[in-house]
Amino acid sequence: MRVSVKEWTAKGDPWVWLNAGAVAISLVMVLGLLLLIAVRGLSHFWPHSIMEAEYIGDDGKVSLLIGEIVESEDVPTEQLRHSGVKVPEGEGEFLERLLIKTGNRDVLGFDFRWVLAAKLRDRRYPEEIMAIERREWGNFYGYLEDVKESGNVVASGPEAWEEFQSRIDRALALHEEIYDIEKHQIGSVNYTLERLRLKERRLELEGDKSPQVMADISAERAEQDVIYQALQEKLADLYSQVNRDAITARAMNGNVIEIPLSKIVRAFQPNGMGLFEKIGFYFSKVWEFISDDPREANTEGGIFPAIFGTVLMVIIMSVMVTPLGVVAAVYLREYAHQGALTRIIRIAVNNLAGVPSIVYGVFGLGFFIYFLGSNIDDAFYPEALPSPTFGTPGLMWASITLAILTLPVVIVATEEGLARIPRSMREGSLALGATKAETLWRVVIPMASPAMMTGVILAIARAAGEVAPLMLVGVVKLAPSLPLDGNYPYLHLDQKFMHLGFHIYDVGFQSPNVEAARPLVYATALLLVAVIALLNLSAVAIRNRLREKYKALEM
């Protein structure tokens, strides 16, 4: 049965196919995007092989090139000529161009380099090439020469590698100890000293600087100073220990440089790794990513503070938004007179969900921070002035701003849930003599709880992905400490915090070395997408499950 074109178009089938095409395109876009993020984000942690090749320069000079191939693309020869690259005549229309991560920023001055594939000769993957992740200057690629202790060579040649690894472990352990002292113990001393200063200033402001109290303060201060001195001595000792070892290594341009072990995070020889070793390495990198602090202006290391900040902010937000949203919804649905005014309010609340999030940010900055915050400072924290306590962006204001932003979501979802509860349920309860409050508490709310839950989860998912308002009310690119720590009052609501979404924006767009940071941004994006997709799916699942549970009632 053949269909002629005319017949086919007359039935309108082309349009149906086009509409089907729109669905297909949308699906391809969503899945492609998720796939792109997943592939790029997950491949970041894999130990890529390091290539060594001879590079023939424009003047015919041959030099050694060592690095990871990051990207390859075909470029029209013409375009290359336009941009001033010397391409010999007689080449084809397209040339393969490779982006190579050469690392060694301290030696070469750059991290990445585009080279034409045709100019590379004799590509090989020797097993002895090592990659070193450092605390500064990015990765190092090259060959290990010697291991030194206090300036004397203790191992060189093939056995140097073993020696090197064991000494890295020692250095890492020492580094851990130093970090603990610097960050936690000295941090705690500093915090106490700052609190003493504020206490003194407060007493001064209140005008009762009795000698007794002052003596107490200075005694405590002296005590802290003693602790501090002790810690300093310990630190000096640890530093001299950690600085004991160093290695020398040869980079691709033949320079031999010395790298102190205190600057090394990890060293590995990817070309020599077996599959299982690589998998092990992969998971250790993934673990580092989610549990470590960032290094090198956020372009290396982990994103733990950002995860922590996001989660903490979202928790505080949901603690605030849940009761408020539920009470408002219950009022609107159960208590308010159902008239034109209620309908208008309902539409208005619904529409607030469509107000751009940046507007909430502006409101939060103006009203909470500059108005409420500075008044709170004047009333409760005069001792810290002129440096603001709550009159500056911080965790609390960010949470409250997002709570207001997500309030409509919770209200609308809860109201929907309340509306679904059959009248007969309420009437039955009331007929049995229960008061309205009892009906509400024992019958209506339990039945509406799935809807509330859904609302809260959706609110959390929205809050976790929102960045624009947070840029105004509290996130920073690098917070010196977590907002939750061991110093009284433990939860520091006035502190600024890091956030996954802002981390993506900041590292991807404000970072000086975008090329190096990009894989990390993909990984962060993947994590954020995963968290949000999980939250959304669980909202859907909870909704379905609880709907099933109460289905029998909805006659």
Partner: protein, 758 residues
Amino acid sequence: MNEVVTAKAPELDFDTPQLKRYRSARALKDKIAKWSIAAGGVSVIVAVTLIFFYLLYEVMPLFKSAKVEAVAEYQVPAEGSTLFLAVEEQAEKALRLTADGQIVFFNTVDGTIDSQYRLPVPDGISVTSVNEAAAGTRTLGLGFSDGSVIVIKHNYKITWPDNQRLITPVLEYPYGEEPLVLDKDNGQAIKSIAIRDNDDFLFIIASTQNNQLRASYFEKNENFITGEVTLEESDVVMPAINGEIISMQLTPDTRWLYVATGNGKLDMYDLKNRMFPDLNARVDAVAPGTDIVDMRFLLGGISLLVANDQGAIVQWFPVRDIDNEFHLEAVRQFQVEGGKVSQLGIEERRKGFFAVTVDGELGLYNSTASREALFEDLVDVEIAHATMAPRANFMLFETTDERIHFWKVENEHPDVSWSALWNEVWYEGYEEPDFIWQSSAANNDFEPKYSLVPLAFGTLKAAFYAMLIAMPLAICGALYTAHFMSPTMRRKVKPAIELMEALPTVILGFLAGLFFAPFMEANLPGVFAILLLMPVGIIAFGFLWSNLPPSIRLVVPDGWEAALLIPVVLLIGWLSFIASPGLETVLFDGDMRSWLTNEVGIDFDQRNALVVGAAMGFAVIPTIFSITEDAVFSVPKHLTYGSLALGATPWQTMVRVVLPTASPGIFSAVMIGLGRAVGETMIVLMATGNTPIMDMNIFEGMRTLAANIAVEMPESEVGSSHFRILFLAAFVLFLFTFVVNTLAEFVRQRLRNKYSVI
């Protein structure tokens, strides 16, 4: 035997004290719950509406008029007739310069004399003219009746004895106490003086009683060891002036000399070559037949304000024309009611000025905003001299009855007006009036350019391209999903597309900026090939599929076309990008980007409207999709069945029956999508260059209202005009989305009612 058994009901007493207590406790609880929920609910709702009122509250001061309020009035301190008044930063101390060479520092509030100095000139010589070097420098050039000139500087030292601020005025002679003799030959009195003083030179120009110009140009040489500055005079020739010189001003770069003469004429001399001054222009600075009363530079020394005896104040500045030549242009005019201006004065921190009149009135104006912030009758006598404190928060003036008045001025935002926000404004140094957003610059005398038009334009441009991409995809997709797709597939597709909505926009923006923008730049022909090939390919595939033998065709049930098309879409996309470099070579000389720029003349930015449109389209698709889908799906089934039963094809049913019924729903979906596109921040922030340009070009970027807030809000000074304008931008966004959403919601409610009737 019949025994009557009377089953006695147990005595139930519902009114035992215990039960009563219990009941009243429950009733109380019920009441408490009712009131607390009501209070809670109402306060949450009020808190939410607070956003609206708070934004309004922050915006309102922008449009408030200025206010003035008398603080003190007293007899003029010390003798002599006043030539010049000045107030220091804190408005605590003021300076009065008299014609007989006295300089009196006094307290502004009560007029008590703080200190008094006498200029180092012989008795009998009086001060005849005075002019400030530049606004805020506190350096004055004084001309004397014997043709000599002296430069003085009034400074204020602030000390804190006993935690109390103490301001001590200091008088300095930066170039020594010896007067410089300008009119060497005649020794005529100096009628007006203009002075410029900076690190490299000191330039003084004076006009004498017989309307001759005299000038001295000193280069400064600083001794590196002692830091001592020596002046070295170099030659300078002044033009001869016809007519009576009324006033003179010299631009900060000493390029232009303005001379106001009788009959309202203004001459502009080019002093680029100091040996050959060149008359660049002679214009009627004020209406012909009127006389110039006063002439001042606005802050920055670019705009010249000329007031005439009819109360007209005209703002002039040099404008560069097509031939790169400068000519004077009358940019805007202000009219002082009553028309008898006695003196003009300027603000030291803003492009604002004031005029005082013979009738004792004060007018406060701002040039950029072209706005009269205040006009008020202050006193009944003529105001002879007036000055404004550097922070523009106080005014000091002297009336002809020798009394000094000290007034408080509240004039927070004269630099903003509704017309300056939304109309073209001719900014200093620009060739023509234009819409420009430029809120800050490095120097202090910068003219802030607050036109919301480029931002609003950018917002709409971004939204337009986003809708252009999102609308066809989302609406067509929704029509198919709701009407043609098999229920099994629909149950999978809907959540997948709704998951799109949950994707954080920061991720979309990041991908758009760092992945899609460079990718598109490299494969530009491929992107356009997709746009062309995709519909063609889909239809072609559909046609082929319909012509396949039934045995194959019927393997895939109806309603699964979309699934069939997924590989087709992938294939077409892949083919387009494979073909992209080839197309580029064949059609565009191997480089489409440079071809666009050179051959077509379209500028190309890597992060452009197309990228934003695609990324934001992606963000908007799920919103439009799910609402449209709901609207189409809830069209009553009997309508469709009726139509199909009458022999209409599915597509005819779709177009003639389903679409008209669902169209309000689709409209509201588009509205809500538009609201989302307009307010989206992160995508635009990351996927455009954020330059506030006005160009519909799809290959150029834009800056939107929302992105502008995100960029500038953290750096804006609290309470400043800039801060409030950003609030205004937020308010505009709020209102726009709120109105659009309300409209959509309203339409949707109507639709719902309609369905319930059908």
